[in-house]
């Protein structure tokens, strides 16, 4: 006996073995239809008794196993049913012959046999036979079950007779020796008359009777016989049969203790038996005994309790039996089957540890050289049994071994499909699920080395199976989940093979269904590359939509009347976390920035990377990128265009890496940072592009500006110059541009600016509106630079700062008292921005032109866009008025205005004033020009009350008034300059403004005053004289040997001024007064003036 039946279990000992076989050519389908119906009759209550007969059907049974039938009667084939097709009467004898041949195979053991003939009709079929049944075809055979029952009853009769025969045999003189096939030669020539031999015969026969009783449904009898047999055989050391007797005892006890069966196939095997309650079963058994009339007294109850083994004893006896079996090399199969049966019993008893010991033993039972198929079967069954006792890991191990056995190199046709199937079954044992979602929770914890091996095997098996989609899926899974455990070389190998597989079959995001119902979920490569942060980006500043102010009021988002409430604060926070406070615009390219990195030790090519969105029709524009090996965080911008409006949610992104397409959802990504993923898409707006006649400038405006500037232009202008800026407005969007508003904002500078820096006329441009897509309109802006033309502003300002009002100060006033204290204080805090010279200082002016525009559906919804143009002007100094004074003219209505003009440019320029000839100034030259002007009265200026009332602040009012006066003077004088060599600048003549030196002393009489940089000095001499005083004071300091302090602007200015004023005083006030004045102030000065006077007189005399 060499073929173990791994499916055996203890209760099989009580079954009768019936072999059902086809004869001739019977289609497999038909045969199994009949086989199924036959095997449904698996237990029968015979002859109205309480005894139950169990039948075990086999369609295949090795005849050599049959030879062990005496050893354990359930191994004996007692019934044979043959199924055959026979369509004509002439075939019949042949068929019948075959049936007989078949009977011969199991002939020695058969109790009875049957032949089922299908298809034969006619006279042969008519004749009634007990051993043959005729059916017209496989569909019309209702009586099959009945036939089988009859058949079984006939088997029972034989069995019962044999049992009774053997049971009573003991009185007979000679008991034959039962033996197993391999024993036969051992007993040749043995003394058959010895007591030892007789005992052996008795013991074996007892055991055999026990088997028969068990089969005949007489459990108690069998127990008694087994016990007796054990006694007998133990005394003669007949170990093999002792083992068998012990096993029989165990089987009978198991059947008693576990009426549900141990094989795990109870439901199919004994539907009636299992439905019987246990106690009902117990009640029937005594009855079974009484019907036999052997032991009718109550002592059977006691005997039963004694004879039946306790559950613990069962295992002990099994152990003993197995140890006896193991003494015989030829009984390997018996030992193995006993182990399997014991394990099943232990599994029922939930004694896994002991079961594992039995299994461990079973592993080492060495049968003869097994065929590959048998090996697979053996490993599979071991795996199943381990599973049964809850050793899932061990089970998985053996299953894997079985799987590997399926494709062992020695097998001619490797069963990759079977291998793959078995491998899949091992997954739970290695706690590996094929769903990548289970791996999202932090670092992977498991038996990585073992799991990786398994995945590799799955990949290989699926590839050999010829299912590349599966191998791609498994390989992707391996790469995705085991990335942390792969070495660099392995990463390379895995990706290489993945690429080669995907070249044939690209990886998809579809669920792969296996034929056996297992689904393989898609594996998105969330780790290739790893995304750390997802950030939705606002549109560039020039394209950001803004809500119209007027509509904003009703759109207030706060539903609560409270500005803050702790109750709703939380909700708001949550909302904010998901929602973003900017909008995207339909039809405009929107961006999402991902911070990614590549964990691979080689360059990673990511193709077709795009966004996955929902809520709004979105056209994703995929990108391809290449990440360097083990790169740090690397920003990637994914773009797309929303095609409709509403709430858009960024759900994730898709990639194609190594030919595998993945959809990575943000929700399932661990450790990702995001600023929210939902944003509103508003209706389309036009897009405005501006281009200017001026060169673009790379420099940005001062950061303080706060606005984002899309374009910057820069221009260099001389002070007083005007330039025209042509702006081309082009609608590059798809919506008509309907509205346009232009505003300007001059960024705060230290420089005081006069007049309109930027001026424009919008009407002409607006006449071209609405601007259709692709159309262009022009818009002209004038840039005027009007800065201070005086070079002494610092000094004069200084006067102002000190708050010394010199207006109306009589010359004779005690001036020193006022002046004295400032000598100490002044140098301490020199005003800023006075490094000076000031002549060559380039001043910067900056302004922003804002274009607010709207149109299309976005306009309807109240959105507009803002485009800013930064204008950067470098104002270079042109001419300076270093000195100003007036001289009375011949007419009292007029006076001469004297100006010292300094040309600080590097070019020759001309100065002209109203009704004066041009004055040519060379570079760096200073000349005086005199202009005859009419005196006028400022008081006579009409003041527009409307404007004035706006300035409630008196100071503002004053400034305002001053400015108008300055402008008035300006228009009167109409001084302008022109650089001769420049063609381009010459048009800017009329704008030379003297705003900082508004010339006022046109009426020397009661209303004479000079406005010097906003300080009104009623008496020119006073202010000037004061300056003179100051300068001379310093001069005296110098003379006394006091070193001038560095950066003491005041000092240097004073020196300069002194010189000028000296000349001035001498020239215009009259030398005598000057002398007098200087005498008052300083002796040193007077010396100078004295010298001056003598010089002057000398000149006069000349």
């Amino acid at each position: 006996m060499s073929v173990p039946d791994y499916m055996q279990c203890a209760e099989d000992h009580q079954t009768l073995l019936v072999v059902v076989q086809p004869v001739g050519i019977v289609s497999e389908e038909n045969f199994f239809r009949i086989y199924k119906r036959i095997s449904s009759v698996s237990q029968i209550n015979v002859r109205d008794s309480q005894r139950v007969l169990y039948i075990r059907y086999r369609h295949h049974y090795p005849p050599e196993n049959n030879e062990w039938g005496d050893f354990q009667t359930h191994r004996k084939v007692v019934g044979l049913i043959t199924v055959t097709d026979c369509f004509s009467a002439k075939d019949w004898p042949q068929t019948f012959e075959k049936f007989h041949v078949q009977k011969e195979i199991y002939g020695s053991t058969l109790y009875d046999s049957r032949l089922f003939v299908f298809g034969l009709q006619g006279e042969i079929a008519e004749q009634p036979r007990t051993d043959v049944a005729f059916y017209p075809n496989y569909d019309e055979c209702e009586s099959v079950e009945k036939r089988i029952e009859d058949f079984i009853e006939s088997l029972f009769i034989v069995l019962e007779s044999k049992r009774l025969d053997r049971a009573t045999d003991k009185s007979g003189d000679k008991i034959p020796l039962l033996c197993v096939p391999f024993e036969k030669k051992d007993f040749v020539g043995l003394d058959t008359d010895s007591r030892h031999y007789k005992k052996r015969c008795q013991g074996r026969m007892r055991k055999h009777v026990g088997d028969l009783c068990l089969q005949a449904g007489m459990l108690q009898d069998s127990l008694v016989h087994y016990h007796m047999s054990v006694e007998l055989l133990r005394s003669v050391n007949d170990f093999l049969w002792l083992g068998a007797a012990l096993e029989g005892l165990c089987s009978a006890s198991v059947i008693y203790h576990y009426p549900g069966g141990t094989g795990g196939k109870t439901g199919a095997r004994r539907p009636q038996g299992s439905s019987l309650p246990a106690d009902a079963g117990n009640r029937h058994r005594p009855g079974a005994l009484t019907t036999n009339g052997i032991n009718a007294d109550t002592s059977t109850e006691i005997g039963r309790a004694k004879n039946c083994l306790s559950p613990e004893d069962i295992i002990d006896k099994y152990k003993e039996a197995i140890s006896y079996y193991s003494k015989y090399k030829n009984a390997g199969v018996i030992e193995l089957e006993a182990c399997v049966k014991a394990v099943r019993v232990l599994a029922i008893q939930k004694r896994s540890m002991e079961a594992s010991e039995f299994l461990q033993n079973a592993v080492y039972i060495n049968l003869r050289q097994l065929s590959e198929e048998e090996k697979i079967q053996r490993y599979s069954i071991l795996s199943e049994l381990y599973e049964l006792i809850g050793f899932h890991r061990k089970s998985a191990f053996f299953k894997r071994v079985a799987a590997m056995q399926c494709v062992a190199p020695s097998i001619a046709e490797p069963g990759w499909r079977a291998c793959y199937k078995l491998l899949l079954e091992t997954l739970p044992g290695y706690s590996l699920s094929l769903d990548p979602k289970d791996f999202n929770k932090g670092t992977h914890r498991g038996w990585a080395a073992v799991q990786m091996r398994l995945l590799h095997e799955l990949v290989y098996a699926s590839r050999r199976m010829g299912n590349p989609a599966l191998s791609v899926r498994h390989l992707s899974f391996l790469l995705q989940t085991m990335l942390d455990f792969l070495s660099d070389q392995e990463k390379k190998d895995v990706t290489q093979s993945l690429e080669s597989y995907t070249s044939k079959c690209p990886g998809t995001m579809e669920l792969l269904s296996l034929p056996d119902g297992l689904n393989l979920p898609p594996v998105p490569f969330t780790k290739l590359p790893i995304v750390r942060r997802v950030k939705l980006l606002n549109l560039p500043a020039s394209l950001q939509p803004q809500k119209m102010k007027s509509l904003l009021g009703q759109n207030m988002s706060t539903k609560s009347p409270f500005i803050y409430s702790p109750i709703i604060a939380h909700n708001r926070g949550e909302e904010r976390s998901k929602k973003i406070d900017f909008q995207w615009v339909q039809g405009d390219v929107c961006e999402v920035q991902l911070m990614v990195y590549n964990p691979m030790p080689f360059e990673l090519r990511v193709e077709n990377m795009g966004l996955l969105t929902s809520g709004v029709e979105f056209e994703s524009l995929p990108a391809a990128l290449s990440l360097p090996a083990e790169s740090g965080l690397y920003p990637v911008t994914l773009v797309g265009v929303p095609r409709s409006t509403g709430q858009i949610t960024i759900n994730g992104y898709h990639t194609t890496v190594f030919g595998v397409f993945s959809d990575c959802l943000l929700d399932s990504l661990p450790g990702i940072k995001t600023n929210g993923s939902t944003v509103e898409v508003i209706p389309a707006l036009p897009r405005l592009q501006i281009s200017t006649s001026l060169p673009r400038s790379a420099r940005t405006l001062q950061p303080a500006s706060g606005d984002e500037i899309s374009t910057n232009v820069s221009v260099q202008l001389y002070n007083g110059e005007t330039q025209q800026l042509d702006i081309k407005l082009e609608n590059i969007g798809t919506e008509p541009l309907e509205k346009l508003e232009v505003t300007s904002k001059i960024l705060t500078t230290k420089e005081k600016l006069y007049g309109d820096f930027l001026s424009w006329k919008l009407e002409e441009t607006l006449s071209q509106f609405p601007l259709q897509p692709g159309k262009t309109a022009t818009f002209t802006v004038n840039i005027k630079v009007k800065l201070d033309f005086s070079c002494q502003e610092n000094l004069l300002q200084d006067l102002n700062d000190d708050g010394i009002s010199v207006s109306g100060l009589p010359l004779s006033s005690p001036f020193r008292q006022v002046v004295k204290p400032r000598v100490d204080s002044k140098p301490v805090n020199p005003p800023e921005g006075s490094k000076t010279g000031d002549f060559s200082h380039v001043k910067t002016l900056e302004a922003i032109l804002n274009f607010k525009y709207s149109g299309g559906p976005g306009h309807v919804d109240g959105y507009y866009r803002n485009l800013s143009l930064g204008i950067h002007v470098e104002a270079e100094p042109s001419v300076f008025f270093t000195r100003v004074s007036t001289l009375p003219a011949t007419s009292t209505r007029q006076c001469h205005l004297l100006l010292d003009v300094f040309n600080s440019t590097e070019h020759e320029l001309t100065i002209s004033a109203k009704n004066n000839e041009e004055l040519i100034l060379h570079a760096g030259e200073c000349q005086r020009m005199a202009i005859q002007v009419d005196k006028f009265n400022f008081e006579s200026f009409p003041e527009s009350p409307a404007e004035r009332t706006q300035f409630t602040n008196p100071k503002q009012l004053e400034e305002e008034r001053q400015e108008t006066r300055g402008l008035e003077i300006n228009s009167k004088l109409d001084i302008h300059w022109n650089i001769i060599s420049f063609e381009s600048v010459e048009g800017i003549l009329n704008q030379l403004v003297l705003e900082h030196l508004q010339l006022a002393p046109l009426q020397w009489g009661d209303h004479s005053f000079l406005s010097l940089n906003h300080v009104r000095v009623n008496e020119v001499p006073c202010s000037l004289l004061w300056a003179v005083y100051k300068s001379t004071y310093y001069e005296s300091d110098l003379n006394k040997g006091v070193q001038p302090r560095k950066n003491d602007y005041f000092y240097f200015h004073s020196l300069l001024l002194t010189f000028h004023l000296k000349v001035y005083l001498v020239a215009y006030i009259g030398i005598d007064i000057a002398v007098w004045f200087f005498f008052l102030l300083s002796n040193e000065c007077s010396v100078f003036l004295y010298e001056e006077r003598t010089q002057h007189t000398a000149l006069k005399s000349e």
Binding site: S352, M353, S356, Q360, Y386, G390, F391, H392, R393, K394, F397, Y430, S431, T443, R445, G446, W447, A449, V450, R453
Partner: protein
């Protein structure tokens, strides 16, 4: 003497596993992995016993042809598994027991490290050295 030493977390995943014939690493992975079935079984059988009376040493888990597998479980259900060459008959149960105790002490030291997160793989030089000493000793 030990050929493989493994520390297994409560949730039955390896915290540490090392074996000396490095080329057979996977084999030992399998051995230790399957031995967990037995450990589980023994632990669940022990579960009913009083906590303070519990023996941490599980004894021989199962013998294979070439090796013997021993187990030890801490009170926090962290398992130690040691695979010993079965040819080494000099090794007594008591010695195995003391080796496990040493391993347990070393593991406790690892756990005391404030920079070690329970549940992470063990990367400790001290622990490594201890394991190495147990593997080399007597070989």
């Amino acid at each position: 003497m030990a050929v493989c030493i493994a520390v297994i977390a409560k949730e039955n995943y390896p915290l540490y596993i090392r074996s000396i014939p490095a080329e057979h690493e996977l084999k030992f992975h399998y051995t230790v992995h399957t031995s967990l079935d037995v450990v589980d079984e023994k632990v669940s059988a022990m579960g009913k016993a009083l906590v303070d009376q519990r023996e941490l040493y599980l004894g021989l888990l199962y013998p294979t042809e070439d090796y013997k597998v021993y187990g030890y479980v801490t009170n926090s259900k962290v398992k130690f598994v040691m695979v010993v060459d079965s040819s080494n008959t000099a090794l007594r149960d008591n010695e195995i027991r003391s080796m496990f105790r040493k391993l347990h002490n070393s593991y406790t030291d690892v756990m005391c490290n404030p920079f070690y997160n329970p549940g992470d793989r063990i990367h400790s030089r001290a622990f490594d050295n201890m394991v190495t000493s147990m593997m080399v000793q007597g070989c």
